[in-house]
């Protein structure tokens, strides 16, 4: 219950004669806009001129890191594909041609249209092979072009490695465990699905 | 006018009467189309007659025929169209045609005044009220004419009666035909008003000799009392209109209640 003494009676301000003809307000407003007309503009000429990205950990387009020998760092463990909430990562593993790891991704595709840029893949990756870059101008002329394959993702690394260095360069391989011959492709596909 | 012309005029009136009767709302669609065709042919006949009558005078005869045809067509549409908005818009057409006729007759001020007052103010108000009162297109009120046969008879008999006297106008007397200039000058002198071609005393005319200046001079010299009364009348009408509409009027008929949710979109009876 609201008590009488709690009611605040707000008197409307009485306007002066000039104010009732809207004259001072209009003059004020016109001056404000006039000042802004000649002010320095806040926006930039975007494609030629880019703003410094204030947020360092911006989650933009993905990249696939290379190790120090220039090979793809991914070991095709399917952790990222499993972690992905929208199932936009498609990996096909194959036997690695290099001795220091079991598998490598024969095919690694990310549907960037489907991706929600949550960064879960980056969190899940045991070798820090997949990372999100600060690149935000993701454009293409068709849906097909928005499906990034391995080459393109590696190329993204080449473009952005100076912008954002790889987080943990010391992890380069995946320790081989047990029998390398036992992993069958069928299992891999099951995991991916 | 020769008697042949008069007879043809009467025939055209009869045709026009039939056309209006057929075209008035309430009839079949085919009747309305027939009415339109009859009406257009009557108008065309009138235009041809007028052109024949005026032939050889000067080029403005052509304009007269076209504008008169437009005005008559528009007037016919005003009274026969089932949608009031279209009636109002066709009336704008009539006003424009009549205004151009005025301009043709060197009454430029009146022509423009017609456009400003009629087309610009009165008709807009009409459209405003139509839109306020009748938002959903044609209603049952406009679907049927009231006593169309009698109305058409009365109207067109009046028309014929007026036109039957047109033959006795001074413009067709032999004296006028023989010496039009002298007769006109005599008439002008008898009226005591400076003729168009000879403006009055120059010192009294601050605006020069344009039509607007002359009409204004006439209004503010000879008719100044009448002009004041007209102004007073306008003021009274303004007050009266405000007083009429400001009152909260009890409705004789209750407004239809909102339909139940399932029936929204179906036809709602007027009361």
């Amino acid at each position: 219950m609201i008590k009488d003494e709690d009611i605040v009676v707000v008197e409307e301000p009485q306007l002066s004669a000039a104010e009732r003809w809207y004259i001072p307000q209009i003059a004020d407003g016109m001056l404000v806009t006039l000042r802004h007309l000649f002010k320095k503009k806040l926006t930039v000429h975007y494609p030629e001129q880019k703003r410094d990205l204030v947020v360092g950990n911006y989650r933009g387009v993905h990249r696939l890191n290379r190790d120090d020998q220039g090979r793809v760092a991914c070991v095709a463990c399917f952790m990222c594909a499993t972690a992905c909430p929208v199932n936009c990562i498609h990996i096909e593993a194959d036997e690695a041609p290099w001795p220091d790891r079991e598998k490598y991704p024969a095919k690694f595709e990310i549907d960037e249209l489907r991706c929600i840029f949550c960064g879960m893949c980056e969190e899940a990756c045991p070798v820090d092979a997949i990372e999100l870059t600060p690149v935000h101008d993701l454009i293409s002329l068709s849906r097909e072009q928005m499906i990034f394959d391995k080459e393109k993702l590696l190329e993204m690394y080449d473009q952005t490695k100076n912008l954002k260095p790889r987080k943990n360069p010391q992890i380069t391989g995946y320790p081989a465990t047990g029998d390398r011959r036992e992993g069958k492709p069928a299992d891999n596909e099951e995991t991916a699905a | 006018m020769s008697s042949v012309t008069v007879a043809m005029l009467y025939m055209l009136f009869a045709l026009g009467g039939v056309a209006v009767y057929l075209a008035l709302p309430g009839g079949q669609r085919s009747a309305r189309i027939a009415g339109l065709i009859f009406g257009l042919s009557a108008i065309a006949g009138f235009a041809v007659l007028a052109a024949g009558h005026l032939f050889g005078e000067d080029v403005s005869a052509v304009y007269f025929c076209i504008l008169a045809a437009v005005a008559i067509f528009g007037a016919g549409k005003v009274i026969t169209h089932p949608k009031p908005v279209y009636s109002a818009l066709y009336f704008v057409l009539v006003v424009l045609a009549v205004a151009f006729l005025m301009v043709m007759q060197e009454a430029e001020f009146l022509g423009i005044a017609l456009i400003i007052v009629y087309a610009g103010a009165i008709l807009v108000t009409y459209v405003f009220v139509i839109m306020l009162a009748q938002q959903s297109g044609a209603s049952a009120v406009d679907g049927r004419a009231r006593e169309p046969l009698l109305a058409v008879l009365v109207g067109f008999v009046t028309m014929a009666a007026v036109v039957s006297q047109a033959g006795h106008l001074p413009g067709n007397s032999t004296a006028m035909v023989d010496a039009p200039d002298a007769a006109l000058a005599r008439l002008a002198v008898a009226d005591g008003i400076p003729a168009v071609d000879e403006p009055g005393e120059a010192d009294d005319e601050p605006l020069g000799g344009s039509n607007t200046a002359q009409v204004g001079f006439l209004l503010f010299s000879q008719y100044v009392v009448a002009l004041e009364i007209a102004g007073l009348l306008l003021l009274l009408a303004l007050i009266g209109a405000v007083a009429l509409v400001m009152k909260r009027v009890p409705r004789d008929v209750p407004v239809a209640p909102a339909p139940p949710l399932g029936e929204i979109g179906k036809e709602v009876p007027p009361f």
Binding site: - | H53, A71, I79, P84, A133, R146, P170, Y223, G240
Partner: protein
């Protein structure tokens, strides 16, 4: 063009058409529109007469007619709005009953 007859006939036609409309239509607004058509006929005649007599009195009268038309439109439309509020219809026959 000095001949008066075509103008008189045109005026008569407009006037008569307006009369037909006034008598036969049931919508109040269209009835008033019809009276405006009659005004047009009269104005055509007045100006033609004035031109025929080589003076401006016809035009002066037409100016007064314009005033009357404006007055009529204002009051008539006020009335129409009033009547429409009462009966919720524009039908003139809704008011043909004189019992009050």
């Amino acid at each position: 063009m000095d001949s008066l007859t075509p103008y008189v006939i045109l005026g008569a036609i407009l006037f008569a058409l307006g009369m037909v409309g006034f008598l036969s239509r049931r919508n109040l607004i269209v009835m008033f529109l019809s009276t405006e058509v009659m005004f047009q006929g009269v104005i055509v005649n007045l100006v033609a007469f004035g031109r025929f007599h080589q003076n401006l009195q016809g035009q002066a009268f037409a100016v007064f007619l314009l005033v009357i038309a404006a007055v009529e439109a204002g009051l008539a439309l006020g009335l129409v709005v009033l009547l429409y509020r009462r009966r919720n219809t524009l039908d003139a026959e809704a008011w043909s009953n004189m019992c009050g």
